[in-house]
């Protein structure tokens, strides 16, 4: 039982670390990969906490589909966070 608590605590630490990294990272591609890691850790947590149905959904939607859709969006728009704001500021005077 205590081993299980240790594993869950370790996974939660990874989750919180990846979440804070995703918020502070200016390169959005790295932030999306960090979000994928959050979902992967969540999948493991759901499985440990005996919710395999939710774990399957999280693995398919969270890890694969959401990450890929965000990567496609980044390829279509801008990769760095400040790029868009600077463009707006430059285009305003013209």
């Amino acid at each position: 039982m205590s081993y299980l608590v240790l594993i869950i605590g370790f996974l939660l630490l990874i989750l919180i670390g990846a979440a804070i990294y995703a918020v502070y990272q200016r390169d959005l591609l790295y932030a999306v990969i960090a979000t994928g890691i959050i979902n992967l850790v969540l999948t493991a947590l759901f499985f440990i906490l005996q919710a395999p149905d939710v774990a399957l959904t999280e693995a398919a939607i969270g890890v694969a589909l959401t990450t890929i859709i965000f990567i496609i969006t980044i390829r279509n728009t801008v990769r760095f966070e400040d790029e868009h704001d600077n463009k707006n500021q430059k285009s305003k005077p013209e």
């Binding site: 804070i20 395999p52 496609i72 728009t77």
Partner: protein, 231 residues
């Protein structure tokens, strides 16, 4: 600065969520209702379904599942209506770089296995963890892999929408068939078989196969639309 505020707000939200759910009062109120025991007994005695979660989602709360499928359908059609353009360049995904030979060979190797896994998950929804939504998303993941690996891999949008509409209509028809024996919407009207067999659980496997097809085609169509959008 903005990000720090966001993190502080999220931490406060998490704190209040944790205090709500870890409250001993909450636990006490949760154990008072007898719905839980009713579900557990009826799943085994009436429906003969090995997976209680599935029987709740499809049978006892089947109407909610119909609502969820509708929500997903509305989301997919809204995205399609925003991003849809007259496609002069079908089969050309200019936003993606050409995939390396390792990716394309691996995709060709993995594609049948992923489809098989998805079909397995939604056919065995009443026996093992998983079901229509999970199987459908796994199948959509397989198609996503093929769309990324092969730039000229194309899917007919008409075939997707025909399968999707048929699955949705059949779901409602099976729900309406529950009225036949004086029952309610989505009531079981088929022989339930014996526990732990593939042919058991009444209408649960049929509805999950339909939901699986619907979710798979919807998500595949959604990804296809996004990939063909030119930024």
């Amino acid at each position: 600065m903005k990000k720090t505020i966001v993190i502080i707000l999220l931490a406060a939200f998490g704190y209040f969520m944790a205090t709500t759910f870890l409250d001993p009062e909450f636990e006490k109120h949760r154990n008072q209702n007898g719905v839980k025991n009713g579900y557990l007994e009826k799943t085994v005695s009436e429906l003969k379904s090995a997976n209680t979660v599935t029987s709740i989602i499809v049978s006892f709360r089947g109407f909610d599942t119909l609502g969820e499928v509708t929500v997903l359908f509305l989301a997919a059609s809204a995205l399609g209506s925003v991003l849809f353009k007259k496609r002069h360049h079908v089969g050309e995904r200019s936003i993606l770089l050409p995939a390396s030979s390792i990716v394309s060979t691996g995709a060709k190797l993995l594609f049948p296995a992923i489809i098989l896994l998805g079909v397995y998950v939604f056919i065995h929804g009443h026996l093992t963890p998983g079901g229509g939504f999970q199987g459908g998303t796994i199948i959509a993941t397989g198609f996503l892999l093929m769309l990324i690996a092969y730039r000229n891999f194309s899917i007919s949008h008409n075939v997707l929408s025909v399968i999707e509409s048929l699955a949705g209509i059949l779901f409602v028809v099976i729900g309406l068939l529950g009225f036949m024996n004086g029952g309610t919407f989505l009531q079981n009207f088929m022989p339930t078989g014996s526990l732990n067999n593939l042919f058991s659980g009444g209408i649960i496997p049929i509805i999950y196969i339909l939901v699986g097809f619907k979710v798979a085609t919807e998500l595949t169509g959604l990804i296809y639309t996004i990939l063909h959008e030119k930024g």
